[in-house]
């Protein structure tokens, strides 16, 4: 394992401190927690927006804190959901009376810990609601199992719910746009290599030199198929088609596209992939309203990418376009 770290068991705290040190004017690190929160002007009365999850997905989630997006982010251990007490601290820190909305990715751990935090907060009289993001079409959407995972599409939920909260939307209104976003966002990823959890010290899985894995999760959870590495065009086709197969598109409908790098894949490759994705959408008469290419939801230094499509209507477009000061999603 080669990493720029100090103690493998201290990476999250060191990181949280390093993030706070980077943005002292806009961020504060809540003492004795792994919570980063926005420094808000006194008298703010907006709905508080909290997200978080295991670490190792940077810039998710702390990079999305800022005017127009999140109010706080909770960092768990690497690839491990944060604990309820930590989430509870975040909720308390951002509650201004209008209630707090939680954006949760659909993993058992995240759901359990955030739910318990919400219970703790409600017991103290704080209004809390949440949405569970499950955009990963690599996994079957079943009510008999854990269901689909939440991956890069979560960033669109942050953006849109954040814009609504910033605009003064009520807790119910924020929830309603967040649910609309979840209903309309789909993603799928692939990997060429695994990341290494610092405390584990070795890669989460092994792929041969000529292999790739389609449908991989952002924690290295196995995908749909392991097979010979294909060209960028073929990968674009496979991911895009799987995403499109999962959601109905009428010709002429508009989408936002996110081409997300999983950590070690150079931007060059993401743009090469994007070229083909755009071509495929154009062929299918799906109009691209806006494209985001970069690292939005990573998996440590995994090499690979994901493709996310978000079907837009007028309301979602407006919220997607709203200003954001979050360092990782400035608009």
């Amino acid at each position: 394992m080669k990493k720029i770290i100090n103690d493998p068991n201290q990476v999250v705290l060191d990181m949280v401190k390093g993030i706070a040190a980077a943005y002292p004017d806009s961020l504060k690190h809540l003492p004795d927690t792994m919570v980063l929160a926005r420094k808000q002007p006194a008298g703010t009365e907006k709905v508080g927006l909290v997200s978080g999850g295991g670490s190792g997905h940077e810039p998710a989630h702390a990079g999305y804190i800022g005017e127009g997006m999140l109010d706080a982010a909770v960092s768990g251990e690497v690839f491990t959901s944060p604990t309820p007490d930590q989430v509870f601290e975040a909720i308390k820190a951002v509650d201004n009376g209008a209630g707090v909305f939680l954006v949760v990715k659909n993993y058992t751990g995240d759901v359990l810990n955030f739910e318990m935090a919400a219970e703790l907060a409600e017991a103290e009289g704080i209004k809390v609601d949440h949405v569970v993001v499950n955009d990963d079409v690599a996994v079957e959407d079943s009510s008999f199992t854990s269901g689909r995972r939440g991956i890069a599409g979560t960033v669109f939920v942050h953006k849109i719910a954040g814009a609504k909260a910033e605009a003064g939307g009520s807790l119910e209104e924020v929830k309603s746009v967040a649910e609309k976003t979840v209903a309309n966002v789909r993603s799928m990823g692939m990997a060429l290599s695994s990341g290494t959890v610092p405390a584990a010290g070795k890669p989460g899985f092994q792929l041969a030199d000529d292999e790739m894995e389609i449908g991989i999760g952002i924690h290295g959870e196995p995908g749909i198929e392991r097979k010979a590495i294909a060209s960028a065009d073929e990968i674009a086709e496979e991911l895009t088609n799987q995403v499109l197969a999962d959601i109905d598109f009428a010709a002429g409908e508009e989408v936002a596209v996110m081409i997300n790098g999983l950590g070690a894949t150079p931007e060059m490759e993401l743009y090469i992939l994007n070229g083909k994705v755009q071509e495929l959408l154009a062929e299918k008469n799906i109009r691209v309203y806006k494209t985001f290419v970069g690292e939005y939801m990573t998996s440590l230094e995994m090499a690979g990418c994901s493709v996310t499509l978000l079907k837009l209507d007028g309301e979602l477009k407006e919220l997607l376009d709203a200003p954001s000061q979050a360092p990782a999603f400035k608009m």
Binding site: N9, P82, L112, H219
Partner: protein, 206 residues
Amino acid sequence: MELQPQEIKQWLLQANQLFQENKDYLTSLDQAIGDGDHGINMARGFQEVKNKIEPAEYTNVSDVLKDTAMTLMSKVGGASGPLFGTAFLKLSTSLKGVDNADFQHFADGISAAAEGLKQRGKAEQGEKTMIDVWLPMAEFLQSQSEFSGEEIESKAKSAMEATKDMSAKKGRAAYLGDRSVGHLDPGSVSSYYLFSTLAEIIKKGV
């Protein structure tokens, strides 16, 4: 026999030792069908449990178990943190009011824990989760009238081993569906460690 606060403490301290020793093994189980942090999570959590309960003096079993529950809840995270936290919290609540745990009280506590796990995890038996150790164990204890280290050990072991052939429906392994067959469920192995150290304590106490 009755389990005294000091024995419950010993149980958890020995379990901690097992989690430290088997950290890499548990992590490798989780790498196969999950995200590869289960050993790290349990080792971290039980180290904190040790730090919390070792120096403390307890006059009743419920308090040791409550401290354990709260520590796991706030130090583990992931799926196993709230789940093991819930299990120990239910066990603690169930034993409230007595200093020592007699067999039936303890058996009822394990039943409450297993029920709590099902609710928290929204899971049923047979879905390849830790529930597949806790529920058979609860049922087995309810069919007994006295602690037996040997039988607890063997029951826990066979329940744990039975997860190997299951196809996961809950937790991260569910993403693999039938490809999870052939792998032990990491959380069930951890649960087995808990019951096997309990069995040792019982054997010593008898």
